[in-house]
Every structure is written in structure tokens, then in C-alpha cells.
């Protein structure tokens, strides 16, 4: 918890700097604040910011690189036969960190590893101490420098405000940074994967069974990494979900918007929104423990062989989850159809449903298509429902009564639990993630464009 104390210490220093900066400005003003360019508090903020920001920046950089640098130092001292094998290396690093943390008495490891463990503990202590010293001194230096610069002419407010603006720009840039982070982290590992498995095999292969040999000499299949069955499964479940969500969502939006009395709307609308607020893990549980057994038992009564991990169960529940999404988006879209069109239709003697079917719906169609695409993208990326209710075996089937697996299910199965980090099996999860990201991104960009264009039409 030394980090907490460190942050508290820096915060304390900032408070002290604020006080000193303000005091100095008050002293310079000779009792009349109008002698100063800015308010005394601005001078205080100026010193506080110069004290705190560089120190925090340093901490951020330090935290980003500390782990990597120390690990490199440790690895450099390990014997060649350990470092050359990635599996052994990660095992060794694991033991080393256990020993460094003070445990690992039960481990049977070579003396080099034990020594490395102690060295790691040492290095960690040194690094911690160094961080504290460096951070506090940076903060103090910032305090001293900014304190000395305070004068009655100094434009403290402008300085502080400029800094404030930079901070805001950095905050806005985080949105870009996360996208870049996503793309790079996925791309980096996916490229690794494509070094082991050909992208063509991955994209067009018809078989998915990601077993890899644990030992080099083991007689085992190399594993097959054809993603087509996963996409077939994903699309099957998405399709089922859409069969539920689109008609139900659309018709509830129509009823809410055009027919329902205000009283009815006040009750039914929040109730529908509850469906959107239920966590996906709850839907997953519901699908796996209520819907799937229900379908299986009733299927058996009808003489159908329904798998207990059927695509139907996952798809139905996913559809329920997406109903409020479709309904609120299409409600938005349809309420943007100008009233004059409705009037025109009613004025000709059309009934409500004729007006909706022949005028409002066609007018809103582009927006509704956009909404449905957004819903599809959400269904494709949905994870927990399928992880809990869909299967693991990559069956190539479009029979909704059978078990299929999906992209997200495979990502979770591949990455949860123990993993050797360099195997094609683990890396394939990132390749799947990249594909998932690209597909949903494409759908979203396209859908948002459609909706945007639609909005402009009626603005």
C-alpha cells in the first residue's frame, strides 16, 4: 500500500504549495489584491500544479516501465537453457516472483532461481525507495521553482488556465489512446499468431480444435484454427436473437409511441428499460438454468432432440436482452418523423396503422436499419450469455437445437485459466478478438452513418 501513502504525500505537498503560493501573493499585494495580476488563489493553484503534476507524470512513466525493466534485468542473469524456452521461462519467472514475495518454500527449483528470487525482492525494495525519493524531490523542486517565479506581474490565472486546457486536451485524447491501445494490443498478438498459423487457414478453415502439443515430442494433433465454425455459430445465435428482438422491439416502440396512454407509458417504459439494465451474467444464468432445461424438456416431449446447450436458448435470451435496445433506438427514429407527414396521412382519412405502415415506417426505415445493425453488432460481441449457455464444441451446423460455439466463447475459454503465453492456442484468442473488433467496428461505423444521415434529413 506504499502507493497510497505516496499519493497522499504528494497531495499533502500540493496543499502546502497552495498555501505557500497564496501567502506569497498576499504578501506581494501589500494588502490590496488589485495590485496583483490574478487572485491570490490563482498563485496558490499555480504552485500546487507545478508541485503535483510533474511528480504524478513521473509516477505514471515509472509504473509503466518498472516491471519491464526489472524483469529484463532478472532474465539477463538467468541461464541460457531457461531463457531460450518460453514455457520454461514463464514457469521460472512465476517461481521467482513467488520467492520474492516471501513464499515458495515448497518449490523445488535450482539455486539460480532462488537467487534470482532474492535479487528480485532486493530490486523491488530498491525501486520502491528510489521512486519515493525521486517523486518527493521532483515535487519539491517544482514547488521551489514555481514559488520563486511568483511576482505581482506574473499572469498566474492565464498560466493556470492554459494548464487546465492542456489537461482537458489530454483527457480527451484518452479516447483516441484507448482505440490505439486496442488496435495495437490485438494486432501485435494477432501477428504473432499469424506467424504460426496462416491467415488463410484461420479465416477460411472449416475446423476449429485449438489443441497444441504440451511437450515438443508429444504425439498430438497440431490443432486446427479455422474460424468459420465459430462465425457460423455466432451468426446463428445472433440471427435467433434478432428474430426475437427486432419484431418485439419494433412493435413495442410503435405501441409506446403511437397508441399507449401516458399512464401506460409511464409504467411500461421503465419496465422495458429494466431489461436493459440487467447484467449479462444474470441473463447467462437464466439461459443456462431456466430456458435451456425448459427447451430440452419440452423438446423431449415433442420428440425433438434438443441439446442442453442449444443455440436456441442462448439466442432467445440474447434476443430478450436486446429488445429494449431495438425499441428505444427505433422509438427515437420514429419520433423524428415530422408531424406534418402524420397529419397529411390522417387528413386523407388513413387509420393509425395505415399511417404507421405506409408513411411513418417507410420514412423511418433507414434509421431503423441503422438501429438493427447496432443491435446485431451488440449481439455478436455479447459474451456472458453465450459463455454460460452455449457450447464449447465447434459444430458446423445451422440447427438451432444443437450446441454451437461462438467467437466470444472461444476467446474466454482460451484465455481463462492457466495459459502458456506463446502458444498458438492462446494467441488465437487475440486473432479472434481482432476479427471481432473489426467486424463490430465496421457495423457500428456503417450504422451510425446511416442513422446520422437519416437525422440530417429530418432536421
Amino acid at each position: 500500500m506504499s502507493l497510497t501513502y505516496l499519493l497522499l504525500a504528494v497531495a499533502l505537498l500540493c496543499a502546502v504549495s497552495f498555501y505557500f503560493g497564496r501567502q506569497r501573493a498576499v504578501a506581494l499585494s501589500n494588502g490590496r489584491y488589485s495590485n496583483l495580476h490574478s487572485l491570490p488563489a490563482h498563485y496558490g493553484m499555480y504552485t500546487a500544479l507545478w508541485c503535483g503534476l510533474p511528480a504524478l507524470g513521473l509516477l505514471l512513466v515509472w509504473m509503466m516501465f518498472e516491471g519491464t525493466i526489472i524483469q529484463t534485468m532478472i532474465v539477463a542473469d538467468l541461464p541460457e537453457e531457461v531463457t531460450s524456452n518460453s514455457g520454461l521461462l514463464s514457469l521460472a519467472l512465476n517461481s521467482i516472483s513467488q520467492i520474492a514475495a516471501g513464499g515458495g518454500e515448497h518449490l523445488t527449483v535450482s539455486p539460480e532461481i532462488v537467487e534470482a528470487g532474492h535479487r528480485l525482492a532486493n530490486l523491488n525494495t530498491i525501486a520502491n525507495a528510489a521512486l519515493i525519493v525521486v517523486m518527493v524531490s521532483v515535487a519539491l523542486v517544482g514547488l521551489a521553482l514555481s514559488y520563486r517565479r511568483i511576482s505581482s506581474e506574473m499572469r498566474a490565472r492565464n498560466n493556470v488556465e492554459r494548464l487546465f486546457r492542456y489537461i482537458m486536451i489530454v483527457c480527451s485524447a484518452i479516447a483516441i489512446l484507448s482505440t490505439v491501445g486496442i488496435v495495437f494490443s490485438l494486432l501485435f498478438e494477432a501477428l504473432h499468431f499469424f506467424g504460426k498459423v496462416s491467415p488463410l487457414d484461420f479465416l477460411f478453415g472449416l475446423e476449429w480444435s485449438p489443441q497444441t502439443a504440451i511437450r515438443a515430442d508429444q504425439v498430438a494433433s497440431d490443432g486446427a484454427f479455422g474460424a468459420i465454425p465459430l462465425f457460423v455459430g455466432t451468426l446463428l445465435i445472433t440471427l435467433i436473437a434478432m428474430f426475437v428482438a427486432v419484431p418485439v422491439g419494433l412493435f413495442s416502440a410503435i405501441y409506446m409511441g403511437e397508441y399507449a396512454s401516458p399512464k401506460f407509458r409511464a409504467v411500461a417504459k421503465p419496465a422495458l428499460e429494466i431489461l436493459a439494465g440487467v447484467p449479462t451474467v444474470v441473463y447467462g444464468f437464466f439461459a443456462a438454468l431456466t430456458v435451456a432445461p425448459f427447451l430440452r424438456d419440452n423438446g423431449a416431449v415433442l420428440g425433438l432432440d434438443v441439446s442442453s446447450e442449444s443455440a436456441l436458448a442462448a439466442g432467445l435470451v440474447m434476443g430478450v436482452m436486446i429488445i429494449p435496445f431495438v425499441s428505444s433506438l427505433s422509438d427515437d427514429v420514429m419520433s423524428q418523423v415530422p408531424k406534418s407527414l402524420r397529419d397529411g396521412s390522417y387528413g386523407l382519412g388513413a387509420t393509425k396503422s395505415e399511417t404507421i405502415r405506409h408513411v411513418i415506417f417507410p420514412a423511418a426505415l433507414p434509421g431503423i436499419v441503422g438501429a438493427v445493425l447496432l443491435a446485431v453488432s451488440r449481439a455478436i460481441g455479447e459474451t456472458m450469455i453465450v459463455v454460460m449457455a452455449a457450447g464449447l464444441a465447434a459444430n458446423m451446423t445451422v440447427n438451432p437445437l444443437q450446441a454451437v460455439t461462438t467467437v466470444t466463447v472461444q476467446i474466454v475459454t482460451l484465455l481463462v485459466g492457466d495459459q502458456e503465453f506463446d502458444s498458438a492456442k492462446t494467441l488465437s484468442a487475440f486473432a479472434l478478438g481482432l476479427l471481432l473488433f473489426l467486424i463490430t467496428l465496421g457495423l457500428n461505423v456503417f450504422a451510425l452513418k446511416v442513422v446520422q444521415k437519416y437525422r440530417e434529413k429530418y432536421d
Binding site: 415530422p338 397529411g344 387528413g347 386523407l348 382519412g349 395505415e354
Partner: protein, 267 residues
């Protein structure tokens, strides 16, 4: 003042066999009263203009005449509106049929986002007025011709109606209304969104339509009322102040308020 109003009302003898009448019509938006005891007769195959300052209730009154106010929540109506001596607010009257018999053209041209052809064909289709494609074609053509639009759009019937100019769109809306063979056409400031040339065309059209239809037009422009109408009704603060032959209203108004409005002292 009250005496003047009284005399104004009695001076205008109730027309014999009016197409539509309003008797003691009161309208409320929630608790706010928007129309007070309106009594008005609409003469068949004439243009009746409703004039008055904004917010005087003339558009509200117009929308009472084909029950468009039914679509607004919280509106209550008292009194009677008749079409051919039948109360249109009677339970036995079907709104859908009523609105086909009393067509409406709105302030802003509002063509549906469909083709020109489908816009005109919309009414006959929903009301089931035709049995074959040929009949429908004929209705569409006749209606467009009647709205003076056929020459301009003959070769582009399958094109989207939103591609027409504002004036063309408004004439299309008139053609759309005409296509269901209404008996009365209500027009709510049909030229307010149009340029002068388009306005002139629409006014000309209104004059032509008079031979076949009974027309009620709400207008902001007194010149327009003088140009197109035979009878004029002046509304003020939700009350019908004066109604009479257009010439008489504009040259010799009986009510001080009418005179004030026409001479531009308020409005």
C-alpha cells in the same frame, strides 16, 4: 360593442342549405378555451376565407371541421359541426370516411417520402376506391391534371416526391387530397411556405377548384383572402367577429375590430 356584434350576425342572413355549419362551437385545450361559441355556415362551391391575427383560433377551427383535433391529446369540443346536415361529431360518423369526404391541405407541403405517383395513389388505395391498376392510373392522372401539375411531372411519376419544388409539392398535396373525391377541401395557410410565383399558381388553382369543391382556406394575407374567396370570416381571440361577402367585409366592415384589422391597426 356587443350590440355591434349582434347586428353583424343578424345582418348576415344564414345561407340557405349550407354545405357545412358550425353551431355554438367551443373548444378547450385542457383548461384553456380556444374557441368561443362559433357559428358559421360554409356555402357549397364557394371559397370561404378565415382571417384574423395569429392565435385567433382560425386554424383550430379549421381542424375542427374534419376532426383533425382528435389526434391531439387533451382537446375537448362542445357544440355541433355538420356536413350535409349531419353532425360530424356524432358517434355513428366514421372519422376515416369523414376525412376522405373533407380533405385537407397543410401549411407546409408534406409529401410522403414516396414516388409522385404513390403520393397521389395513397388515398384511393387505402380507401379501396379502385379495382384495377388502370383505374388507379386514371385517378392519379386526373387528380394531377386538376391540380395543374400533370404537365410538369408527367415524365417523372416514379421519382420521389421530395425532389419537387415547394410550389409543386404543395400542388401535389392538393392533387393527393383531390384523388379521394372529397366534397370539401380545407386549406391551412397553403401558401405561407411558398414564393410569390408558386403562390400565384396555387391561388389560380384554388379558383379553378371552386367549380367542383367547397373550399375553406385559412390565410394570413388579406390580399389573398380578397383575391380567392367569395366569403370571408374574421376571427379574433377565439371568437368569430364577423362573416359576410368578401367584398362587403373588405370595403364595409360592420365591426370595429374587423375594420381595425383590415386597415392594419393591429394584427
Amino acid at each position: 360593442m356587443a350590440v355591434v356584434t349582434q347586428s353583424a350576425m343578424t345582418a348576415e342572413p344564414s345561407v340557405t342549405s349550407p354545405k357545412m355549419t358550425a353551431r355554438d362551437l367551443n373548444l378547450f385545450y385542457g383548461d384553456n378555451q380556444a374557441l368561443f361559441d362559433v357559428n358559421l355556415d360554409i356555402v357549397e362551391r364557394q371559397v370561404t376565407a378565415l382571417i384574423g391575427p395569429s392565435g385567433c383560433g382560425k386554424s383550430t377551427f379549421l381542424r375542427c371541421m374534419n376532426r383533425m383535433n382528435d389526434t391531439i391529446d387533451g382537446v375537448t369540443i362542445k357544440g355541433k359541426v355538420t356536413l350535409d346536415d349531419r353532425d360530424i361529431y356524432d358517434k355513428a360518423i366514421d372519422v376515416v370516411q369523414l376525412r376522405a369526404r373533407i380533405g385537407m391541405v397543410f401549411q407546409k407541403p408534406n409529401p410522403f417520402p414516396k414516388s409522385i405517383y404513390d403520393n397521389v395513389a395513397y388515398g384511393p388505395r387505402i380507401h379501396g376506391l379502385v379495382n384495377s391498376r388502370d383505374e388507379l392510373d386514371e385517378i392519379v392522372m386526373t387528380s394531377l391534371e386538376r391540380a395543374g401539375l400533370l404537365k410538369e411531372v408527367k415524365d417523372r411519376l416514379p421519382e420521389p416526391a421530395t425532389g419537387l419544388s415547394g410550389g409543386q409539392q404543395q400542388r401535389l398535396c392538393i392533387a393527393r387530397a383531390v384523388a379521394v373525391s372529397p366534397e370539401v377541401i380545407l386549406m391551412d395557410e397553403p401558401c405561407s411556405a411558398l414564393d410569390p410565383i408558386a403562390t400565384a399558381k396555387v391561388e389560380e388553382l384554388i379558383d379553378e377548384l371552386r367549380s367542383n369543391y367547397t373550399i375553406v382556406i385559412v390565410t394570413h394575407s388579406m390580399q389573398q383572402a380578397a383575391r380567392v374567396s367569395q366569403r370571408t370570416a374574421f376571427f379574433h381571440l377565439g371568437k368569430l367577429v364577423e362573416v359576410g361577402e368578401t367584398d362587403q367585409i373588405f370595403t364595409n366592415p360592420k365591426d370595429e375590430r374587423t375594420k381595425g384589422y383590415i386597415t392594419g391597426r393591429f394584427g
